[in-house]
Point group: D3
Chain length 319, copies 6
């Protein structure tokens, strides 16, 4: 069994979206892409040089094969439990600018992964990795998955593997109270927390600016590292009681979905590569900014392109 | 409340299909269309001059609105219960010729309609119609719907409305034994049965050629009319102890899905308009043959086009 | 005959437009959509909760059927005279930003509607409505339609139906002098006038800011309500000698065509629903701003989305 | 002024057609192409080695520029009168196989060419050519064009230019009686007549098989050459009292429109190049067969490809 | 290093093809897919259950990354030398039926692989496989590759790995004499030869029916196994002095490119899995027939689908 | 031989670009367009009223025919040497906004034009023109072309034809030192130089603001006219020792490629038409600004549209 630097666990959906700014109610065609926070993170990490494997449970149909194939095509390894009964999760995405806003309809109940138990996965793969990663979406999907998430985090810690977790609160999946209760229970098993300032406030009830949020979270729950993201104003990283800060880069956004996952995947990959938190934040912000120029959830970037953004060396046309 | 000649009840899905002969596993885009046996039948009937209403229960989302809008755009009335919780049913369709064959993946569990009860619908609308129609797909979708189907058929009969039923066995929805048991229990409430010769044999266990099947079914279950379809070899119609017969027309098929529904809708519309069974079979076969030249489930034909096929008056180019 | 809150009368064209910013001179494909000021208004009104019917005369061809089907699909009723001879009107649309600008080529001479006379329509439908609506485009299309417009406005008034009129001057259809002479002759039969500040100045010869224009128009012609729109700076509404004012909302525009119709349809629907002029202007501006994010002439919005804009509650991504 | 071997005169339309076998009533997009019998013939002739110029009158709009540009792109010269008022003609095309058939809706009234008079064109260009060509469609378009067609044929004859004419009866443009009366009046000015066997029978009232039709036409009207086409059964050519005969080639047809024009253009080009009638018929049939494999009205073939068909040297894959 | 059952070596191109039957000369868009005989074979083998790795040398650009990603997405492993200088090979493909035929324009000179030497590859990977496979295309690409092909075949043999070779003569790459001279020199190092009957005749100069060709080739060059394919009439397999025979299956072909590669990949996979030659030929023919229904070079089939064809158990619609 | 006002010489490629902002690594389709600096300039000049011919050497394939046909379709004449061996040059283009930027991959080695010698072209055509134009890209393509460029410039000068040259340094084609050495050697034969301020600095080593650069270049190399462009800040023109200046117009850019060529073509056309340098700069800037709203390399504008920009008379919608 080959080993990966980072192993992620979660659901990857088919994302169905009308072209351009057409409406779901009316479009003749939907673009189709594999999309899910945990595979997005694996891909972003892999694009920046980490080896990455995505673990999941998928239906044994053309749809499940499609998800797995598309992810492999983006450069990561996949290790999935094939399932004869559960559905393939999907989400419908409608892109729009102001004031309509981009909108998501989830259709992910009773999916294949909803019945996934820890014993179905190859725990060695997790324990041989440097980092195990999942997000707050996974335990939101089923009660079985709440348990499975906890068990996999435990297994990772037991194997000496670092654990990283993106809080990723999704209002359309569960109410804030359920999320807070479930996710804070997982916090003791987590080394690196990534969380949006908004979630820290509205779900966890913290107050203050992002620097204060990072500090409070880090000290209260004893994380090694806390990254608090704040949309187009960048992110702060708390580590060893120090808070670092990096602005977002200016972008011509064509698809905002997956920005946070690109950020997180790049941050982890650069940390694994030896960067300090400040430098990793810089590359994470650059990767996130490139993602926003790319249609789809996934950060199909190269390490060279990220370097170019960091060195602010872009031209309108490169020829 | 306006009245319709024919009222149909059932689920209409989003049909998601790759363009041309692309594979679900690989296509970049899916074409999207509303599709369901009972709305297909309503549309075909409407195209041949009957007024038609489709009853259903749909999710109160862009997807549900899309289904309703698309059906209205094809010329029928819709009378639906809007639902806050159930899913929008979908099916994935991959077109292919020999030897691959066209393939369907259903994703229609826990849909909005699966919880529909008879009391949610306006029974007057059914009782003021000439014909109430549904198919063997509806009771296959949930146990609630088995009961609802039975109740609506009873209500129709009570209101003096004729009942028509397409057997439509779907192997991917339920096993033959369940279908036989459930559907034969509905037979006493049905006036007009449409059934594929193959289903009569493999699900109901009858033997013989289509003429014999029609005769046996008609006499055993006391239907008014039985139509047995036999694919590219046309159909036979049993009525008043007489069996009529009509061949299928030659077609350059681009989409075989919905052929049977086009046949059934046209048959009912022509019978309502006063045709004898032999003539109605002829128009039904013509409508079905036109359907096969049209992408999508739906028979977007005109009555004039059907007449032209019946009169065998076609040209390669009309200009 | 079912009754509608609002009945509109006018021509709906096929709109043929290259994808994206391609040129008509060069594009391999044109997108096709039904489009016309009076059906746009009916749809916007219907989306905000009014029942709406569009009256017209259309060719009895696949093109005429398409227009009718597409409009029904957007939720309104249609009541049309089918015509064996006239053409289906079309317009060619080329989208572009600065400095090219979006450009229209009309091809709407000798269309089916150009011969429409008042006696061809069901006058009861107009007289049973709350509001009858048409625009300055209709009388620009033929001399017969000048008379028909006048006759339908008279019939509405006679039936106690309010009359609403969007001035909608189109330089490519007729010269300003003809428009002024023809349209001011209709003014005595109109209750609610909607007019662009630019048209009030360059066609009617009024001077002043939008508030002054509304006041002058209202008092000189004895309208009940006058709405003067001023592009991205919003609109003013004059009613009972008071002038109300609302700014436009910021938008990421993908298609500016139909903005005014969305505004007007929403304004009428909200007024019918009991809003005062100031509130109706607010919802109208919100509907217009959403329209600008949607490809096509038509405001495919929901009342909920409009509420969200009014409450300024939007997110970049809703999930 | 450069000289061309063949000069053709007629209207070229925008052809608007749904992709694949979609219906006009429903398709989201139309493919757009320049299409007209006389420019089709010019292009086919040019592809087989003749120099060709198309004369016409077109609107001075993006649509007119598009038609001219597209034709130039296919290799011919254009010499057009730009017009500020008339419309750009269009036709809507719906492709279908059996039993639906391919269907055309013309929208070509009051087009720019309908007012074209002979004095608007450069007569020298016609008189310096080897062949002047037009079809029975041109005089069907307006009474002015009936006169113009007669005048241009006269001018050609006067300049010693051969005249060729495709009868091309279009039922949707005029009744058979009008066509017969108008077109037979032009016959004395025509050297080479191309006519479908069906038109010779149903419009002109001749009887007999194609060989007999050719012979009767040739002797009755004193043509130099008569070609009678008979669809998928090929064509016969009458010349110097001898009748030659060639079968059509087997094809996998994707677009039958323009088959006859490809045939005619190739026939004329090969005759100009010195072929006898039998050989020219062979190349004409080969060019027509290739056309049927190409989407659009136009025979975008090469002379080499035609040679390959004639030598029956094709492979399934050439690599 | 993970081990594969089959290792293939060769060039994979970007295939650029107009949609449908459009011409290269005219289409607005080209479909893009990775395509190459040796990766096609690896993918077909993998789809039938063998593990497969493709070796190559590709440019370190978005185009090279695309090829590698697309192949990984289809389920195989890739092990490539990234190159800073050579081009990405492409081919332009125009699909057509009779009499035009499908046509290929190669653009593969000076590509990255043309400079590939045996020492650049991981020979262990070849020597740990069961089968090493390449085709007659590879040595046609450059003189360096002639040597490299010979060296890799030698290395395989030395490591005890079986060698398989598809003769694949391409007229547009080299003349028959060069091919014969070069390829027969490789024959002593080859265990399994696959060759089209046409190539055996026109390039190698053998005579006789396919059974005779297989026998003559097998005995003359001392192959273990010889498969002679004969297009739509199936294939024969010679092994242990016995000739086996299997017809092709009937297909509705949408893309004939890659049929032979699908056949070969399936044949090798089934032989590796223990099938006798007769059975392997049957599965190979079934896989090839499915390929013809799939757009693109690649046999995106499942083992289940192949089984269904072998058991002749297909339906027009599976639902 | 007809004469043109301007004759240009250079390579025109197939431009292959994913739709929208898709990545080359992932897009299912590429849009295809003919694109090359010298034909871009010819087309822009022609659009502003000059007659223009493009000289080149192209492969005798569907790809070469496509390039020639597409350019003729845009309104210019072409006079090309057809070649049996060289490749068709291509370039891959990926559009993106900040911070990714638009990116180009050239694939133009060993193209047909790379072997073009002056004696292959019709020198009379150059010597009968008013202006002969080429760019710094042409001599970058091969050593043969360095000589050919010099010879054609000499021939032009000898025939009394003005010579115009766009410096157009392309970093991905050659290093700055080679470019400087080669191109400055051509300077004595050039009358009108167009150069980007950036190239003047980084390739030629000049310093100063654009006005100073123009002055220094003009006096040092004895040009008649020097135009220095400076991106979105417009351009300066030096002539008769006077420097003129014009800002760029504000644009909503959809495709920045070809902006400079549009500028140059318009500048030359207007100078030929008698404009002074200041006025020509104004029209050049307007044409360049329109180009940025048009997909593709080519300025498909009309003279009227350019006038409208110059008169700053645009509307958001013209109807
Ligand atoms: Ca659409
Ligand atoms: Ca595709
Ligand atoms: Ca379709
Ligand atoms: Ca295009
Ligand atoms: Ca669209
Ligand atoms: Ca499309
Ligand atoms: Ca097409
Ligand atoms: Ca397309
Ligand atoms: Ca495709
Ligand atoms: Ca895509
Ligand atoms: Ca597409
Ligand atoms: Ca395009
Ligand atoms: Ni896209
Ligand atoms: Ni669009
Ligand atoms: Ni669109
Ligand atoms: Ni599409
Ligand atoms: Ni998108
Ligand atoms: Ni893809
Ligand atoms: Ni389909
Ligand atoms: Ni396109
Ligand atoms: Ni648009
Ligand atoms: Ni299609
Ligand atoms: Ni469609
Ligand atoms: Ni077509
Ligand atoms: Ni097409
Ligand atoms: Ni095209
Ligand atoms: Ni294809
Ligand atoms: Ni395809
Ligand atoms: Ni672009
Ligand atoms: Ni584009």
């Amino acid at each position: 069994m080959s080993e990966s630097d980072i192993v992620t666990f979660g659901e990857t959906m088919l994302r169905l979206s009308p072209p351009g700014n057409e409406r779901l109610e009316n479009a003749a065609e939907f673009e189709v892409r594999a999309a899910g926070a945990e595979s997005n993170v694996a891909i972003a990490a892999s694009r920046l040089g980490a080896s990455a494997t995505w673990l999941s449970k998928v239906p044994e149909t053309a749809l499940g094969r499609r998800v797995v194939g598309e992810l492999r095509g983006h450069g990561i390894e996949t290790d999935v439990v094939w399932n004869h009964r559960g559905r393939q999760g999907t989400y419908y995405l409608e892109h729009a600018g102001k004031p309509r806003g981009t909108n998501v309809i989830y259709d992910r109940e009773n999916t294949a992964i909803s019945t996934a138990e820890a014993r179905e996965f190859n725990i060695d793969r997790i324990q041989n990795a440097q980092v195990f990663f999942t997000t707050g979406i996974t335990p939101a999907l089923s009660s079985t998955l709440r348990e499975t998430t906890a068990n996999l985090l435990k297994a990772a810690r037991k194997g000496g593997t670092s654990t990283a977790f993106d809080f990723n609160y999704r209002r359309k999946l569960w109410p804030p109270d359920d999320a807070r209760e479930t996710l804070t229970r997982l916090f003791p098993g987590i080394d690196i927390l990534i969380i949006a300032a908004r979630d820290a406030r509205t779900v966890l009830g913290f107050e203050g600016d992002p620097r204060q949020l990072a500090h409070k979270l880090g000290t209260q729950y004893d994380f090694t590292t806390v990254v608090v993201t704040r949309g187009s104003q960048g992110a702060v990283g708390w580590h060893d009681s120090v808070v670092h800060d990096h602005d977002a880069y200016a972008t011509d956004t064509v698809d905002p979905i997956g920005t946070g996952d690109a950020f997180t995947g790049a941050f982890i990959a650069r940390r694994l590569d030896g960067d300090d938190v400040a430098t990793a934040l810089e590359y994470a912000a650059a990767t996130a900014s490139l993602k926003r120029t790319i249609p789809g959830d996934v950060a199909l970037v190269t390490a060279d392109e990220v370097e170019q953004v960091v060195s602010e060396d872009a031209e309108e046309i490169s020829r």
